[in-house]
């Protein structure tokens, strides 16, 4: 006997109990199973690309902080790389090492939030999130010591970083980095083999490798599907070719694999910071550049491996002090291409977890 059923459209509105931001989903259900899914964005579209055409290159640096606000240093770095490529500016050695240290600390911080929010969605209400936040507060203290801000740093400049680190930075960093592997092991002891985590995330939201490549996915989502592609190894920028680290990949491409890739990346980041702390030389931290900077006419595309994926800036210059076109290649926006295909056929609770495992930040999606 077949039942007559009618599909129901449910709106999971822009305001909702998760830390991912103002994201809206219009979901069509047949009972509890999802048959159609439409994501709606634009609730945080602030017009950064248009506003940036009215301000000079240096005045645009704080706008880049507000893109992926959980990992601001990476955004600053990508923009600084693009302008340095456009204008042909060299960066001194000490500044490169400082950039790497800040970038990897940022990756740690962003993955702590990403994994914590995923567990929040899975039902472990606040406990893993607060544990991981305890470590994140220590990293934010380090940033506070360096540049005075906890969230939006504006630390990188064209030709280096804005100022040198104070004396108490290195001992504090040494204490933190020596303790961090113990904390990551603590999280794994609590969560990695947990029965509920395994039941809710193994086999859920599987993304095959060819589909991931075709959909221009990048970052831990791509590596969770088994594709060994990381810009730090395949297209090294700055001084990443001097460090010794591995690229973790998943096998199947489900939610559990993406979570494991992020945890392993945290361990590799600790390794890179240890090596950078040993090798860092003395010297200048910034090259003199003229203000306002007027790069020659031309264009440049530069990208970094941000915690969420490949973040790129495409700048077109017409020789003036303001950019002619300021385009941001945002990883979270492009990673959302596959969300619809991943959730079809699952139930609502699984859809929330699949969405959480892609780990987006709405500031980037909408710009």
């Amino acid at each position: 006997m077949t039942l007559e059923t009618e599909p129901v459209v449910l709106n999971m509105g822009p305001q909702h109990p998760s830390t991912h931001g103002v994201f809206r989903m219009r979901v069509t259900f047949d009972g509890e199973v999802i048959v159609d899914f439409e994501p709606v964005f634009g609730y945080l579209h602030r017009g950064i690309e248009k506003l940036a055409e009215h301000k000079t290159y240096l005045q645009n640096m704080p706008y880049t902080d507000r893109l992926d606000y959980v990992a601001s240093m990476s955004n600053n770095w990508a923009y600084a790389l693009a302008v340095e490529k456009l204008a042909g500016i060299e960066v001194p050695e000490r500044a490169e090492y400082l950039r790497v240290i800040m970038g990897e600390l940022m990756r740690l911080s962003s993955h702590l939030v990403g994994v914590g929010a995923l567990f929040n969605d899975m039902g472990a209400f606040m406990t893993p999130f607060l544990y991981m936040y305890r470590e994140r507060e220590k990293i934010l203290d380090l940033f506070d010591m360096v540049c005075g801000q906890r969230l939006t740093y504006n630390y990188m400049r064209f030709g280096g970083v804005s100022h040198d680190i104070p004396e108490e930075f290195m001992p504090t960093l040494r204490r933190f980095i020596d303790d961090m592997p113990r904390y990551i092991d603590e999280y794994d002891r609590l969560l990695a083999e947990n029965e509920i985590v395994l039941a809710r995330s193994k086999g859920v939201g599987i993304l095959p490798a060819e589909k991931a490549i075709n959909a221009s996915v990048s970052g831990p989502v791509l590596r969770g599907s088994g594709v060994k592609w990381d810009l730090r190894k395949n297209n090294p920028y700055s001084i990443y070719d001097r460090f010794d680290f591995d690229i973790p990949t998943g096998t199947v491409g489900d939610v559990y694999d993406r979570y494991r890739v992020r945890v392993e990346e945290m361990r590799q980041s600790v390794r890179i910071v240890k090596q950078a702390m040993e090798q860092i030389p003395q010297g200048e931290v910034r090259t003199r550049v003229p203000t306002p900077l007027k790069p020659p006419p031309g264009e440049a595309y530069a990208s970094v491996e941000a915690p969420k994926g490949e973040l790129g800036f495409y700048l077109v210059s017409d020789g003036g002090a303001k950019p002619y076109r300021f385009k941001i290649r945002a990883p979270s926006f492009i990673n959302l291409t596959i969300l619809r295909d991943l959730v079809m056929g699952w139930k609502l609770a699984d859809a929330i977890i699949i969405f959480g495992s892609i780990d987006i930040c709405m500031g980037e999606v909408d710009r």
């Binding site: 305001q15 109990p17 103002v22 069509t28 507060e137 906890r150 969230l151």
Partner: protein, 195 residues
């Protein structure tokens, strides 16, 4: 499986667009900040009755915030709620996502015209007494994005605001200072006038 929809999703889009345009046209002047009742009360009743005082005490020590977190300032509110700066010691024990269960709406982040009808709807769903805190430069005046084609220049055009917390983003200590100002306002503290 073939599904027949009774209405198409593009009808939704059109209807919502009309709501956004209507709100944008109506929000030309900011709402006045709700402090007039405060001055009137203080002038009329120099001594508040014990019952009123008790009710105010009850109200101020258990204000439950609603999570309305568009952008970056959200992470400073989450930091203020997390392990180090825990604001549940001030009575804001739980962050309630549902507006029906909340007393305070903290707007933390830039509000755009597309989000404005949703924000107004959340405000309308809250039960009296209710308060609004505008956190960060973007909610006070549009902040770094003022002049953009899609940003609301100050949320006091859409909802009346009780406390403004400046900063970009304000530190968690600043957020807690904002909450304490709100508590003093709720308790109709006479010291508020001298600030």
């Amino acid at each position: 499986m073939e599904i027949e929809k009774a209405y198409s999703l593009s009808d939704y889009d059109k209807r919502e667009a009309l709501q956004i345009e209507a709100l944008k046209a109506a929000a030309k002047e900011p709402y006045p900040d709700p402090v007039e009742w405060l001055e009137e009360e203080l002038e009329r009743n120099v001594l508040l009755t014990t019952t009123e005082r008790l009710l105010d005490l009850g109200k101020r020590f258990s204000v439950w915030p609603n999570t309305f977190f568009p952008a970056c300032c959200a992470f400073e509110v989450i930091s203020a709620a997390a392990s180090r700066f825990d604001f549940s010691r001030f009575g804001m024990e739980v962050l309630r996502p549902s507006p029906r269960q909340a007393d305070l709406m903290i707007v933390a982040g830039t509000v755009t015209w597309k989000l404005a009808p949703a924000m107004r709807r959340v405000y309308d769903q809250m039960a009296e007494p209710k308060w609004v805190i505008a956190m960060g430069a973007c909610t006070i005046s549009g902040g770094a994005f003022r002049g953009s084609y899609s940003v609301v220049p100050g949320i006091n055009r859409i909802v009346p605001v009780d406390v403004y917390i400046p900063g970009c983003p304000p530190r968690p200590e600043g957020v807690i200072n904002g909450f304490m100002t709100l508590h003093r306002k709720i308790a109709k503290d006479k010291l508020l006038k001298k600030d």
